[in-house]
Symmetry: C2
Subunit: 246 residues, 2 copies
């Protein structure tokens, strides 16, 4: 892990960009974090739109978490931003768009080809980032995962014992395999669903929530469309992490 830039934001949060091998990432730490007072860490997932495009939303959430004494880190997804394209995923994305434009359902084969390669590639990268981040002075634990591409969150929660809590956004296509993995998840979960997200399969999201093996899980559904998660819901997600990570 190699830091490539550093700036102190107006609220005292330290924002550092880094590379992990050839993967770019960003780390935000609260002013209170120090080697003698390490803070918990939230891994901040996101849809495959590229870190540059996602930056305002991610930084906003990281600063809210920092106000509660949590560090936040994110990394570029495989095939996104300036990273090498993934031709098979690009082909699946094109097939998905053709289906949507034709008003046809997006079939399981397309969903599998669109999501599963990203999950297979991204999860070991998140785990490598976690190794590197936890070795930094000022970053302690426990660790949470928050974010979209719900299949990545499910795989990470089922595979990574260091994850103590996860906030998952049920707003993307869900491959069949993800339902099976969900049964093995025991991590405390806070699942967000936009009830009136026209492009999302609401019943699949409810079925996935039901499938999770976690004893502690909550589903918070709101109105406002795909990107209209209300501010109060963001604050509730931070409180969930505060309860579980502090």
């Amino acid at each position: 892990m190699h830091f490539t830039s550093e700036q102190r934001l107006d609220d005292g949060v330290l924002e550092r960009t880094f590379t992990l091998g050839d993967i770019p990432g960003i780390l935000w730490t609260p002013p209170s974090a120090s080697a003698s007072a390490p803070v918990p860490l939230v891994l901040l997932g996101h849809p495959p739109l590229g870190l540059n495009k996602m930056y305002p939303r991610l930084a906003d959430r990281a600063r809210h978490s920092a106000a509660e004494g949590l560090a936040t880190a994110t990394i570029e997804l495989p095939g996104s931003g300036d990273r090498p394209r993934l031709p098979s995923v690009d082909r699946a994305r094109a097939a998905m768009r053709r289906a949507l434009e034709a008003g046809e359902p997006v079939g399981d084969e397309i969903i599998d080809a669109l999501v599963l390669p990203l999950v297979d590639l991204a999860v070991p990268e998140w785990q490598a980032a976690l190794d590197a981040l936890l070795s930094l002075p000022g970053i302690g634990g426990p660790v949470g995962y928050s974010g979209g591409m719900i299949s990545i969150g499910v795989r990470l929660a089922s595979a990574e014992p260091r994850l103590a809590a996860a906030v998952l956004f049920a707003g993307s296509f869900i491959p069949r395999a993800t339902f099976e993995e969900a049964r093995r998840v025991t991590t405390p979960l806070h699942v967000l669903l936009q009830w009136d997200d026209a492009g999302n399969d609401r019943q699949a999201a409810l079925d996935l929530f039901d499938a999770f093996g976690s004893e502690e899980k909550s589903l918070h559904a709101h109105m406002g469309g795909h990107t209209g998660v209300p501010r109060s819901a963001g604050a509730a997600a931070v409180r969930f992490f505060t309860r579980h990570l502090k």
Copy 2:
């Protein structure tokens, strides 16, 4: 409205019992409430188990709301506590128990006979209580409704324009008529559902949430069985009221 007792609780909350005609009730006001600084009011609903039995849970919730500057009032339901029994509702309750003990579904006729008479009787009583409460010095508005027997909350939200927000607990039988009334509700809603409540019809609760006409509505589902609503969910409900009533 006639006050029958008054005590100051250890956190400074003023608890007064009252009668409204022959209906007993309780009013909790925060220490800050005064004629020159009137506070918002939450009407606190409950299942038909009698105020005496429900008192610990109701007082706990009222004190949490008082800490946020909200007054809380509740009244005895028709047929509960020391009020005259409602023989037709008692017969429906016996029929419901027989069905449950026999492992049979509780039919719509039983549900209608169990719930609708209570809704028809209780809602005008809540409205009369609201008239009396809003005329007290120290009680201003806006007004919220919180509680179980979801059909009472739905009727009140659809019929009572003074209601600015409602927290509804989706944990009881839902008559078919309630779904129709739900479409006419436009009040901001915060709906609580216990996901693993074995005695509750989860799909009916989800359908009812979907039916509400409110532009702002949220569904918070948790684990823990019928009575196991987590503390964090209670705090979130108070925050919902704080956003809408203050």
